[in-house]
Amino acid sequence: MNIPVVEIKNLTKDFQVGFWKKHPVRALDNLNLQVYKGEIFGFLGPNGAGKSTTLKILMHLLHPTSGEARILGQSIDSVSMHKSIGYLPENPYFYDYLTPEELLTYVGRLFGISSSILAQKVETLLKRVGLDGSRKLQLRKFSKGMVQRIGIAQAIINDPEVVFLDEPMSGLDPLGRMEVRQIITSLKAQGVTVFFSSHILPDVEAICDRVAILNKGKLLQVGALEEILKVGIEGHEVILSKWSVPVLGELRETCSEVRLMGDRLHLKLRTPAQMELLFSLVSTHRLELISVNPIRPSLEEYFQSIVGVPPPAESRGQVAL
């Protein structure tokens, strides 16, 4: 049974701009969303879509203009509810005069963790995020990736039931992104619900159970990745081997596209009729069928089609090194 741990109802946020703050700008428009226990939920959208605004409202950093939200069945105003959640802000910045050990101890005290347990917890967490060797180094000497890692450590020091991560992979190199992905999947394995915003689509595609797509403050889509992507299924890709030259002509007539890669043929078929003909050829000429896969748009292509803007370079996995 799906137990909602995050429930957002008609959430709206207007920011007042201008010298006299008389002009409202709607950053979030009537958002309705549910995140279920134990899932990794991806919150997608281009810059300015309202992802961080949503997370900040959930974290009680912003007051909503209207609507309501509940986390673990409690109002977002509840301070006691914050004992069971973790949060990593976008581009996090922590007290740079502290060492990671001091920061985690400080955060642990805010959660009321007793000193004897805290020391052990800090030790374990530093190892988990790979900062064990830098425990005495002030945070001002940390690289962006290291700050992101200590940010994740401080977000999970209280063994939260739900973790909110705002752009956790932003600005990280491929190795750093892989490490963060591993941490997120290990959290899921522990039964932790992860709600994370991102515009790096390959990461979302790799680890999310469900995603929501947001643009200009409005929710465009929400659901499991397969559900969202199967809507736009474009046909099938079939891979064959043990083919012969005379068959190749017949295959070219049957399929929409035929490509030779090594000793294998990669075929694209758009219609069920093409599929039927192909399978009869396979049977007649005793071709070896390696695989049959549906051709779906990638999340990136889908995102682009519904949002209408090309995602930033970073979101296509092209990270400046």
């Binding site: 900040k56 950093l61 912003l62 301070v79 400080y106 005290r109 401080q154 977000a155």
Partner: protein
Amino acid sequence: MTRILAIARNTFRENIRDKILYNLILFALIIILSSLALGQLALGNEQKVLLDLGLFSISVIGMLISIFIGIGLVYKELEKRTVYALIAKPVHRYELILGKYLGLLFTLLVNLAIMTVGLELALLYAGRIGLGGYLRLLPAVYLVFLSLALVTALALLFSTFSTPALSALFSFFLWIAGHFGKDLQSFGEITKSASVKWICNILYYVIPNFSNFSVDSRNIIQDAAYYQPMNPYSIAGVTLYCILYCAVIISISAAIFMRRDFK
């Protein structure tokens, strides 16, 4: 309470790792030591010069620490966005304000202790005031501490909604104006205009009254330093005034902070 103390402890740690603090303390100690040399020029009045300059530098340097660190207490949290991770923890916003305030008060206490030890050592060097004399300095420093607690509360209030430059300006202006509280009241009494009288009265009660730290226009701090009898009732009165005033200012700061959006 644990959370407030954790925030206070971190604020104290932040302050003692700030170079500006050491520069100011060093500056105060240099003034105290140089007053020893100046005292030599004032024949027979070495201790008076030493006390005047010593207490003045403790008071002014303390005020500078209160304002310059106080104005950044909240502003720096917002500017550097460290507040984001903090508010998401099980922390009430008023606890953050209170913790920050207590952290700076503790910093001031430690600084005053260092500067007082410096002044006591200078007095010891100047000689012949006896053990009682050294102890009599403590109530004077206590009153300086109270006035600084008030300045810190004001700086904290401004830092919840203003930029550091404006906060410093407002705090410094109120510190100056607060020393003329009694004069403002007297002016209100002698003026013929009813509206001016009304304004003077309002200002007298709203502006922090640093002249409350004086008794009969003689500075109570100097009374203490010059071994005049200390009136325990006036000290208790000033303490109560300070606590009440600070409580109001901190409550307003917390109310502003609780309404704020952190974009």
